[in-house]
Symmetry: C2
Subunit: 113 residues, 2 copies
Amino acid sequence: MGSISSDIIRGYNDTMILYLLWDSPSYGYEISKQIKSLSEEKYVIKETTLYSAFTRLEKNGFVESFSENVTISGKRRTYYRITEQGRQYYREKCAEWTLTKEVVEKFIKEGMQ
Amino acid sequence: MGSISSDIIRGYNDTMILYLLWDSPSYGYEISKQIKSLSEEKYVIKETTLYSAFTRLEKNGFVESFSENVTISGKRRTYYRITEQGRQYYREKCAEWTLTKEVVEKFIKEGMQ
DNA sequence: AGTCGTTGCTACGATTGTCGTAGTATAAAA
DNA sequence: TTTTATACTACGACAATCGTAGCAACGACT
């Protein structure tokens, strides 16, 4: 109850991820925790959704990946860094969101009888 | 340019249709024209999307259909009428939209540098 | 009389983001 | 020592949308 069906957000996961990469590179687990906390626990992205978003973002040239050691034993973590194209894409999606919201809200009236 | 990618709206077409059926029954062609005009030409629903939405809505019990003659020669038109469950579903989607919007907007900041 | 644009659909397969389930493996905390 | 947290990958299923096509009646215009 009161939770978000992720199908609504479809197509905006990529944008949300880019937002969180804006100032510095990050990686899957961290991003997922940030989405949860920034949304005040209202949206928890599925792991598979998240990692497939990374793949898509990289394929589209919106992020670049690199990996780094986390422990001495050689455990690695994959980081993603936003690219200039990624920033551009983010800005376009923001504009699109504004437009979309306006359109949707012509049809959404709370408290209809 | 400035047009809406319908993937954003995914999952809200049904809600938009229910809104337009609120006061009186209607049919495909009319609904599609209304969506276009209410959105100020910013959103044009695809025919296939629209008719498959009707099918889904009916299967879920949110609308009922009936058909009527349009011409003497027997050309028929399929009308849809919203049900009480449909109204209930619409109200839930409105609440969900409000929540979703709040969440998405934590990640959407126009004019980021 | 013939063509064009509008009306009002249906059929069918492709696409794509998300989801479900599962598995793997290290590290820290209890 | 058994959880819990961390940090992923693999694989197939699902469902809304899209693309393309086709069909048929009607009215307006030429």
